[in-house]
């Protein structure tokens, strides 16, 4: 049974996602030692392929046509300046058909793998695994990140999705596609704003439906949580500062006065880095110094 990670990459003119893909894939290879397949539009794939040592981290590249969404805001590395850029996130449901693996971990490029915990997912009984619970570097209580709306269902994060080729997983991704294509209707039904298509919302609805519409206290089949049931988040205003193989330093909390902050350290825990520019800058810089780390990256 083949197993591997799929990453989706589409440059959008604001964020160089192909560079982020290299950082993301390097950490996956380092900690998990699994096959990595990069899916994206031709231009972005060529740029990723042309990066030094990309052949060591990308085992396969598959063409995936982007499906443009609306513009979204991207926060700069210092957490201040915001840029508008096209959000190219709507092609996610196609992964089920395109994945070359029997068992796939679909991981967002801004999810920094810092341990091998996700390797426990292979051979799962559950055909789909995804998380709803999140953790933060600094305590931030965001009720809007727990449900699609306070009167609605739990919010699941499409940041990391495990699936095994199966009728259930096929239904999951076909359902996401259907929701994407009828997004306003589902927005009214589940009470979320539909300005921007979010895979998280479509995935949340499909988890809810597949598990019998019984909610967090109900049936835990066919969808279950991942081996590490919490996703660690570093938000937009918590840029990545420094990095090594198992540790990542972020701005934990800004204090009064320019440039004053309390750093937050994550160790041996994978983390969703929402400040993408900081991940590209810090990650790329750090990779340049990694000689002889098994993949020959120079």
């Amino acid at each position: 049974m083949s197993r591997g990670v799929v990453l989706i990459v589409h440059d959008n003119g604001v964020i160089e996602y192909h560079r982020m893909a290299l950082v993301c894939a390097w950490f996956i290879k380092w900690h998990m030692d699994v096959q990595v397949c990069l899916m994206g539009d031709k231009g972005t794939l060529i740029r990723a392929r042309d990066l030094p040592s990309s052949e060591y981290v990308f085992d396969d590249m598959i063409h995936l046509q982007p499906d443009p969404n609306k513009d979204r805001c991207y926060v700069s590395k210092d957490g201040e300046v915001k840029k508008e850029g096209m959000f190219l996130n709507k092609s996610r449901p196609s992964v089920y058909e395109l994945s070359p693996f029997d068992e796939t971990l679909l991981i967002d490029l801004d999810y920094l793998i810092m341990n091998d915990g996700l390797n426990q997912v292979w051979g799962s009984d559950a055909p789909i695994r995804i998380n709803s619970i999140i953790d933060n570097i600094a305590f931030v209580d965001k009720p809007e990140e727990r449900r699609l709306h306070q009167l609605s269902i739990p919010l699941y994060w499409a940041t990391v999705i495990y699936f095994r080729k199966s009728p259930e997983a096929q239904a999951f991704f076909e359902g996401m596609e259907y929701i994407r294509n009828n997004y306003d209707h589902y927005g009214r039904l589940y009470r979320f704003t539909t300005h921007l298509y979010r895979n998280d919302y479509a995935a949340s609805i499909m988890v809810h439906l597949l598990n019998g519409s019984t909610g967090e206290n109900g049936i835990k089949w066919p969808v279950q949580t991942l081996p590490e049931p919490e996703l660690m988040f570093a938000w937009d205003n918590q840029p990545l500062l420094k990095l090594d193989t198992t540790r990542a330093w972020f701005v934990g909390h800004y204090m009064n006065g320019p440039g004053r902050y309390v750093p937050g350290l994550i160790k041996d825990r994978s983390v969703h880095v929402m400040n993408k520019q900081s991940l590209i800058d810090v990650g790329t810089h750090w990779l340049k110094d990694q000689h002889g780390f098994g993949f020959g990256y120079v």
């Binding site: 269902i153 019998g212 909610g215 206290n217 109900g218």
Partner: protein, 286 residues
């Protein structure tokens, strides 16, 4: 011989139309939902005040009249369940509020319930299936202040035994003398008229029957209670009670019910009468 094995087990509800709504229509929907969902006993009898006419065909097992002494059509009248024991046609009875729907089969409860002479529901659920935080339930402040058992008569089971007879008699006495009783026997003042929940809770306390008629083990004997303030919403206490304006719901003709996109499995106490539309009744009748 035509032997009706279900005759000894059945459901009973009070259907006295009052200021809060048409409870006969509610009882009809309840009876239809029981008919669609229960694999075991499904018969529902209703208690109506003498003189209340139920025209045409109806889905009820029996329509039993009771003396409406002490009730007032202009009030809520949530204090008549004390009459259930003397009027029930069944050996074993599950007593219900009329404004409930059964969206799934609970027949397996009966054999477990038979271990008790009477059993009150003490833990209700939200429409999401979460246990209600009873320690902070805003509707139960007077129960907590007076250290009364936190019981819900919207779902209770009883057999006709000496202990239940004692209980119902005590509850009847408390109900009839509520003004005196609440002033002299309860440590904290209660503001409302007598209710079934309060009267039976006081009766359990007076007769020291709480531990015999409530269960510490949660085997699922519960219902979904749609009071808005206990749904776990932020500022839920401030929200209006007509939750149908907040949550969508739909029902199939087999009584499968979905509320706020959550499939319902427990008896559903909708409380807000606007939930039961004519369309819904039509679906259940079809």
């Amino acid at each position: 011989m035509d032997l009706d094995l279900d005759m000894s087990r059945g459901f009973l509800t009070m259907a006295q139309n009052s200021v809060t709504g048409d409870y006969v229509a509610c009882a009809e929907a309840l009876a239809l939902s029981l008919r669609w969902t229960q694999l075991g006993p499904h018969k529902l009898s209703i208690l109506v005040p003498q003189g209340q006419v139920i025209p045409g065909a109806h889905p009820f097992d029996q329509i039993i009249e009771f003396d409406p002494y002490g009730t007032d059509p202009g009030k809520w009248n949530a204090h008549t369940k004390v009459l259930a024991l003397q009027h029930t046609p069944y050996d074993e009875t599950i007593l219900l509020d009329a404004d409930m729907i059964f969206p799934s089969d609970i027949s397996w409860w009966w054999d477990i319930l038979g271990q008790w002479e009477a059993l009150f529901c003490t833990q209700v659920k939200t429409y999401r299936g979460d246990p209600v935080d009873e320690e902070n339930n805003p509707y139960r402040e007077e129960f907590r202040k007076n250290n009364l058992p936190n019981i819900y008569t919207a779902l209770m089971y009883f057999r006709n035994t000496a202990a239940t007879s004692l209980l119902f008699t005590q509850a009847n006495i408390i109900t009839e003398g509520w003004e005196w009783y609440s002033k002299h026997r309860l440590p904290e003042r209660v503001t409302r008229d007598a209710t079934d929940d309060m009267s039976f809770a006081c009766a359990l306390m007076e007769r020291n029957l709480e531990h015999e008629m409530t269960s510490k083990v949660d085997f699922g004997f519960s219902f979904t209670h749609m009071k808005t303030g206990i749904q776990g919403f932020k500022d839920g206490k401030m929200m209006r009670e007509d939750w149908t304006r907040l949550l969508n719901s739909y029902i199939r003709n087999d009584a499968a019910l979905t509320v706020g996109n959550y499939r319902q499995f427990l008896p559903f106490h909708y409380h807000d009468r606007s939930f039961l539309t004519n369309d819904m009744l039509t679906v259940l009748r079809s």
